[in-house]
Amino acid sequence: MSDDFANGTEIAVKGLNLWYGKNHALHDISINIPKNSVTAFIGPSGCGKSTFLRCLNRMNDLIPGCRIEGDVNINGEDIYSKDVDVVDLRKRVGMVFQKPNPFPMSIHDNIAYGPRIHGIKKKEIDGIVEGALKAGALWGEVSDRMGISALDLSGGQQQRLCIARTLAVKPEVILFDEPCSSLDPISTGKIEDLILKLKKDYTIVIVTHNMQQAARISDYTAFFLLGDLIEFGKTGQIFENPREKATEDYITGRFG
């Protein structure tokens, strides 16, 4: 696949196959994901988009019976090579999940947790926490109650907290796995605006069931079906004039 992105390629995947036991779940996926852009993965349930997303920070390593072949390079480094420190990889490639999952501790400590375990000095922590909450578009809502439990925040605020927590360890890439599926339209709008702001500094990959969300916020879209990458292109092209009939059938709701 050619690399003609304005900001270059962040993630280069070549010939990736994945098996869950005997089930061949991803078939020969090759894709270049551009830097400082939002790339959306869409497709029906079970198409492999979340599985593929989890390949990008080796979250599938945790699943028994999961076997992966192929190359995944992030900024030129093979992340499946034996000498890769997986904890460090997940710091570089952060992840935000479907359901907000704040730690059962204060807002401050949620953000401070990552920098602390990565050995950041105490006097720097407060600045990092404030910066991350500002970048996560939450500071204005919580700056006067940093000591309260993160679990007392609304769902949308909790999700922005989780994004801020990811930002606090200064990742290169942020993976979002359906980050708005448990949120109302207002909170969804805030997260979408936040994602659009974050792409200036990070490479963003988002799995979403909401096609309109992919259309609204992504620069590139990849359509997956039954473990195959069917089509990948600029979001404007995918939603105005997709090359593949299967893509058109899916995005126009004519599937099955």
Binding site: E192, A215, R216, T235, G236, F239, E240
Partner: protein, 216 residues
């Protein structure tokens, strides 16, 4: 404010329409000046500049396709987007008519014949209607849109009166048939330009209120 990027795209679309509108008005105005003053250079400029207006049309069409495909505009936003597509067509046609007038400047023989006072009136009214329709669009001013469209009756009246007068003149003096026939076309083009302004006013009323008004 959420959906900042989307709102920016809507603003860009509005700006394209306003800019295209200003250029169309300029073309109509210049084409009439070229005709009246027999300024071939200006006529040529109008013809050349039509390319820029056509480019605006394509930009607007592209912008609208993307907004529909990616942003699913609803309610007032949807009315804006669908109206902009229609307005862009009207502006493009109005500019084409200006080009037709500029071409006539190049065909017409030196001295013009008389019914120019009505042609001038029609041209002033047509220009004004087009300008005001764009202002009404820009400011979403339903009242201005309705007032502007109401002027079309006067344009139509002038058209029929001048047409009749010109035909009578030509039947009395065959030497003016060449210029006279061209002028008949100019009258028709000006009348059509006013109609396009009317259509734009209808789109503005729809944008502002949701009412599908027939102002023409």
């Amino acid at each position: 404010m959420t959906r900042e990027q989307y709102l920016q795209h809507l603003q860009i679309l509005k700006r394209y329409i306003t800019e295209m509108g200003e250029r169309s008005c300029q073309s109509v105005s210049d084409s009439m000046i070229s005709l009246i003053t027999q300024d071939m250079e200006l006529a040529e400029k109008v013809i050349q500049k039509d390319m820029i207006i056509d480019e605006y049309y394509l930009k607007i069409e592209k912008c609208i396709s993307q907004l529909i495909a990616r942003q699913s505009p609803t309610a007032g936003d949807m009315r804006l987007v669908t109206s902009c597509l229609k307005i862009a067509v009207d502006l493009e046609r109005a500019s084409d008519l200006a080009v037709d007038i500029a071409r006539i400047t190049k065909c017409i023989e030196e001295k013009h014949t008389k019914p120019f006072s009505n042609v001038l009136k029609m041209s002033e009214l047509g220009k004004e209607m087009l300008q005001h329709s764009i202002v009404a669009f820009d400011t979403l001013d339903e009242e201005l849109a309705r007032k502007t469209a109401a002027k079309d009756d006067e344009v139509d009246r002038l058209f029929y009166v001048s047409q009749k007068e010109l035909i009578e003149m030509m039947s009395g003096d065959r030497s003016i048939i060449n210029n006279g026939s061209y002028l008949l076309f100019v009258l028709r083009y000006l009348e059509r330009i006013a109609d396009h302004a009317c259509n734009i006013c209808e789109s503005v009323v729809y944008m502002a209120s949701g009412e599908r008004a027939n102002l023409n």
